[in-house]
Symmetry: C3
Subunit: 358 residues, 3 copies
């Protein structure tokens, strides 16, 4: 089976006429909670951007470069009307137009910087990257009811990866690695994970992987968060879309409920994973974890968040080591095994989106 993957410096299969990233997509640019009274400078899909809120709380994204002497606007300061450069004080509004040049009456019309389409939905700042950069977005950014429904407590963070985005997709679509990489938190017995019942489905740009591990021992994070009686029936439901993944995992007491029923009880962890390329070789990883604590909600949430952070730090080490080693070995072929079905399907989707964008 031939599976293409865009790994700069590595893949034979890279077609330079294609975009390195799927375009005509909304990508996560920030978590809502990151944008307070300071601007945030961040490179997204190889473009240096400053993100900030104006006096009304509206979020804007501009090219991160003053048009006068090229200072990053992200080292400037926020005002109600926009963002002021920290070198000679030029002020820009949310549309990128300069609206004040201190000591000078006339503002030349070309005193402006590029602005980007951003929308804030359910705790995320989404940013549109179009094939045609001047065109309007073709559709709306996604809602995320897990954050807005009130049924869950959640928190999250942003991690930076020295690795291309598709290696993070691979990692999230194949949870069989939990038994080897995440023994301390959500892992548990390795064979249980490798031998899970797995079903891979999907349509369009979506891939779904469902894995059931029945009658297994609860891992450390689970026992710490929920009063299981003994062995558990555990599920992992992964939904991949080109710019983000949602992973709904959890467990009930063994043989107590139907694992396929979305209304099942027990312990739930609902993860959101925004995977946004920083450059072709580095990535931003925006994650939140939501859970349904039975008692002492804040303490339980905090514990779940801590363990999730620990888990993702373990993944980060593995993925960055993997990329360094891929660079070292260049074009050496990879063989696929049974657990790769979902990841390989996602790679084909990304490959197709890169072509249509080219």
């Amino acid at each position: 089976m031939s599976v293409q993957m865009h790994i700069p410096g590595v893949s034979d299969l890279t077609d330079e006429t294609k975009s390195p990233f799927p375009l005509n997509q909304w990508y996560v640019a920030a978590l809502s909670k990151e944008l307070t009274d300071q601007p945030v400078g961040r490179t997204l899909l190889s473009q240096a951007v400053v993100l900030f809120r104006d006096g009304d709380g509206r979020v804007h994204a501009l090219e991160d470069r003053c048009c006068h002497r090229a200072l990053p606007l992200s080292s400037g300061t926020l005002e109600d009307a926009g963002i002021r450069c920290g070198y000679h004080g030029m002020l820009y509004n949310g549309g990128g137009q300069c609206i004040d040049i201190p000591g000078q009456d006339i503002i030349p019309p070309r005193a402006k910087v590029k602005s980007y389409q951003v929308k804030e939905v359910d705790g995320f700042i989404w940013m549109w990257f179009g094939l045609d950069q001047d065109a309007e977005p073709l559709f709306e950014p996604p809602n995320y009811a897990v954050h807005s429904s009130g049924k869950y407590l959640y928190d999250g963070d942003v991690y930076h990866y020295e690795a291309p985005y598709q290696l993070i997709h691979d990692n999230l679509l194949d949870l069989s690695h939990l038994g080897y990489v995440h023994l301390r938190t959500i892992g548990g017995d390795a064979k249980t994970h490798m031998n899970a019942d797995m079903r891979v489905t999907g349509e369009g740009e979506c891939v779904r992987v469902v894995r059931h591990m029945r009658d297994s021992l609860p891992p450390p994070t689970y026992t710490a968060a929920y009063p299981f009686k003994d062995r558990i029936d555990r599920w992992q439901e992964i939904e991949f879309l080109p710019t983000h993944l949602k992973i709904w995992t959890g467990a009930v007491d063994a043989n107590s409920e139907d694992l396929n029923d979305p209304e099942r009880g027990g312990f739930h962890m609902r993860g959101f994973h925004g995977v946004t390329p920083e450059t072709e070789t580095t990535s931003h990883y925006f994650w939140t974890i939501a859970t349904n604590p039975q008692s002492d909600p804040e303490a339980t949430l905090q514990k779940v968040v801590e363990q999730t952070a620990l888990t993702f730090e373990e993944d980060k080490v593995v993925i960055e080591d993997q990329y360094q080693n891929m660079l070292k070995f260049g074009h050496a072929p990879m063989i696929s095994i049974h657990v790769d079905a979902g990841a390989n399907r996602a790679r084909r989707i990304i490959e197709k989106l890169r072509s249509t964008a080219g």
Copy 2:
């Protein structure tokens, strides 16, 4: 207005047939106080040089490379007669000739390294960089009476910048940035700086910018150093020459004296700024600050030096950020505003000197 600037990796306008730096010039290579009983290794205009004093206190500059096995001579040791390599002990005199090979009687004539023209004047070590490297200097290095007159106390330091030299010229020639970058020290009200009376003149390779800010509030460094009654009349006189700048700033009580009179009283700060390219993308910044303390001279000098160092560290952050951002954005054009008149004039002088050098 088209203004050329040699920014490696950035400018469209770079003509590779030109020298990256003005030649036939004296550049500051070191402060006198740096050369004690240890040699100093330093790259100047892309040439690795060792600077040292011999037993008579005379300063010499040699190629920083033993002709035997290429060790930097700057990791060797000083003797009365010259500098001895730290690997196998070859001794070189100030002219670069090897005068001792331990254990070997005959010294081959080709056992020598290149030497440079250096002169020590008023606390600076100047080094000649000629278009023809073997020719004698065409003129003498400049005096600096501020150091030798006995009217001022002074001290200084050397900073290293990860940015090309012309960005430091820009910064020093346009002091309107004080209100945004240096609030904590010599800044003060931003609008005062942006609205200063400014006059730009010059002849030959010299640019002069004079700025007056009348009836303004004294900034923190000024009030700490001098007993102003209330508001002040403040001057800034900048003199640019291709390898260094002199900046005479100060203030008198508002409406008490003629700001154009060089004999004016009040509080004075006289800065010397030697901007010497290390490479095309990095720079040495040699500075001294002289002042005329009214009381407790040593303590006042120390305070002024500390605040000046703090100010230059703020500039360093801005200039290095600027250069990184210029590299990120490549050939994006810059627009000029009213405060850039002096800096733009200096750029044209440097551009012309690079051509005649080619």
Copy 3:
């Protein structure tokens, strides 16, 4: 005299049709003591390798890359049967064949990684690098009786150098640098070293340098380790082979014994120096030092090892500075002096071995 040397980025003489390293050679890959219950990942001659012991204590070397998703096997775990990848648990035996894919019954035959020829002899792990990588080694790796004879106590370590391997050869073949670089330990009076009686001989791929320093003052390491009466007669016997050097140094009381007699008494230090290229520009340096303590053997050994480590750290600084300076100055020629005879002979041997390998 023209002496060739393969210094990447420096030498005019580099012939790219040659191998950068002598091939058909055994190189030291590790000290025996390094391989315990953890695998060791190491790049040797530009190849990333994992070294480990199986349950029987036998040493194996494999390509450091899981054939599934390219993780370094060296971040995996050891089992009796081999090494298990830390991502999805694939297990490899010492021959590089995958023998377990968790959760999958069939193991495809192409699920394997490259294996290397390794042999453990007298405390070293030797690895064969052939001109034809699939051919058997042409000869056996060397014994090292100094470790196995029981006459000496020894210990050692591995250092990493940011410099090409031939600069380490140079350093070890020319001990005249002791008086300038190693004053604190094995140096002593510089002139004594530079004026030593020196004889350079050799045959085939071997160079021998013998140096005698009669009636000299003992250096710090010697007086600390042995009860010399006063002045000493000191010898240094260096034997160079393409992948390693042996250096037998020591001293007897002045005029008490024949320095050319291998059965001479006094204080002995016998050094082994495995110089294995990591890449063309970086090196591994495996060293052991053996000595013959007169009293309190463990404490004396410890002192000798500490001083040797200190000495090699001094060499590391010099050699890395030298390489950086060679890169800075590019093709500038080097002149040779009397002490270079042995090093120049070794360079010609390496040059010849690189050609026959091409």
